[in-house]
Symmetry: C2
Subunit: 260 residues, 2 copies
């Protein structure tokens, strides 16, 4: 199965802008069923899916060895693993009760339902942000990343208006950093419709969903997006901008949100 | 609260090796309780914890606005948030039932119990790996990362013996990539006691736990570890090696596992 997806994007390099074909990594929802019961949807790359299912069940304590597995069936089209355990499998009610929640917007096979439910957030009036402001914001953002320079071990996230960073947070987890700035905006009752989110890390569908739920129209990262993030951004008319580095950036969606 | 922790580590640079003080990003277990019920333990950086809790509850659909929150208490020492919702909070049985499992080794406040349960995996006979072999393995590993070079959007993970990469996987998720190689080793009944794990991404406690459960003694990354990963590696006598880049690497634990 393909691990990538191609999109026509708008590539900026200094004063040049061109529509070019770009390669984006595929994000693939993969739902694991154990003895007929839905356990989780992992957002992954669609390769070695059997090993992913087996490794996941081991890491999570569902099995203590491969001999606990009676049968594994992978349905690549539907993105599903059907696993049957034998008597050695320890999948049971007790384990289920101990489960924690994923810091994730993707709730099992409801993933696509969720995309539907976000349709109401479709952007009707795009922001009109000058490209040079985005470059400047990212420069300031990079300079702010103190903890990163000390340790190389964190992600940063910011909420900005056209000219300034308003909230800035760092965390060892991408999702946490984003939840921190969004949580603060919520607590301080800030309207985010005219704000921009800046991210240091990759933009997966989960990251995009968090921003969209708060009605953010522009998501900017110095890293790569995934295919599902690009797909969603296009469906919802969100401006998704990646690889903002020096004079360069890639615009994946809602090209008209930018001013040149 | 401090965001970092200092450790004396063994720093290699070409032919030089020195014990130096190094700064590692703090990994902090933070448990959120809603109306007295434990919801999740996030592994995070201990700053803006109130905003993290609020942002998380919003992103996960527990609340639809800040007005749903009656009260937030943060206990920094214990690493806990106690949140009370009012009638607008939608925390209820139905939502709980829909929860997915975290691809995480950290099960709520059982985190430290888990560390205890891993005591049996403490390494008694460390491997004796020549440092130059680790450099060579990382060079090969970097060359293998085809999808990364195409998209910049994935993590890689490998299982190796002293000289060769045996399994190699890439995935948009660090955890998935590791689960894939470990799952394959399990399915193919490979003994991992004398194997090395190579990672492109950061080593959090969750990543280390996955490796330790399969009795791996040496974990190598081209990125940074977190404090909890270093702590665990030292407790369990696992060799944890980070920032393997060119002639350089940092050895965080079990220095005697390496041969110079």
């Amino acid at each position: 199965m393909e691990q990538i997806k191609k999109y026509n994007i708008l590539k900026i390099d200094g004063g040049n802008k061109n529509i070019v074909e770009d390669i984006v990594v595929l994000e693939y929802p993969f739902t694991i069923f154990v003895d007929g019961k839905e356990v989780i949807t992992l957002l992954c790359s669609p390769r070695s899916l059997k090993y992913l299912a087996v490794g996941f069940l081991y890491s999570e304590g569902f099995i203590e060895g491969y001999s606990a597995i009676e049968d594994v069936q992978i349905d690549e089209i539907k993105g599903r693993a059907y696993i049957r355990l034998n008597a050695k499998g320890i999948f049971n009610k007790k384990l289920q009760e101990k489960r924690t929640i994923a810091s994730s917007g993707a709730k099992g096979t409801m993933f696509y339902d969720m995309l539907d439910s976000l349709k109401s957030k479709k952007v009707k009036e795009p922001l009109n942000i000058p490209v040079y402001e985005i470059k400047k914001l990212m420069e300031t953002f990079n300079k702010n990343s103190e903890l990163f320079y000390k340790t190389g071990g964190v992600h940063a996230c910011a909420i900005c208006n056209n000219n300034n960073i308003i909230y800035f947070e760092e965390d060892i987890g991408r999702h946490n950093a984003l939840d921190k700035v969004l949580g603060r905006a919520l607590a301080e009752d800030m309207d985010l419709k005219d704000k921009i989110v800046l991210l240091s890390g990759r933009v997966s569908s989960e990251m995009l969903v968090k921003a969209v739920k708060r009605e953010i129209k522009v998501v900017v990262s110095r890293s790569a997006p995934t295919s599902l993030a690009v797909h969603m951004a296009r469906e919802l008319n969100i401006a998704l901008i990646g690889f903002v580095r020096g004079e360069k950036m890639n615009i994946y969606s809602s090209f008209s949100s930018l001013k040149f």
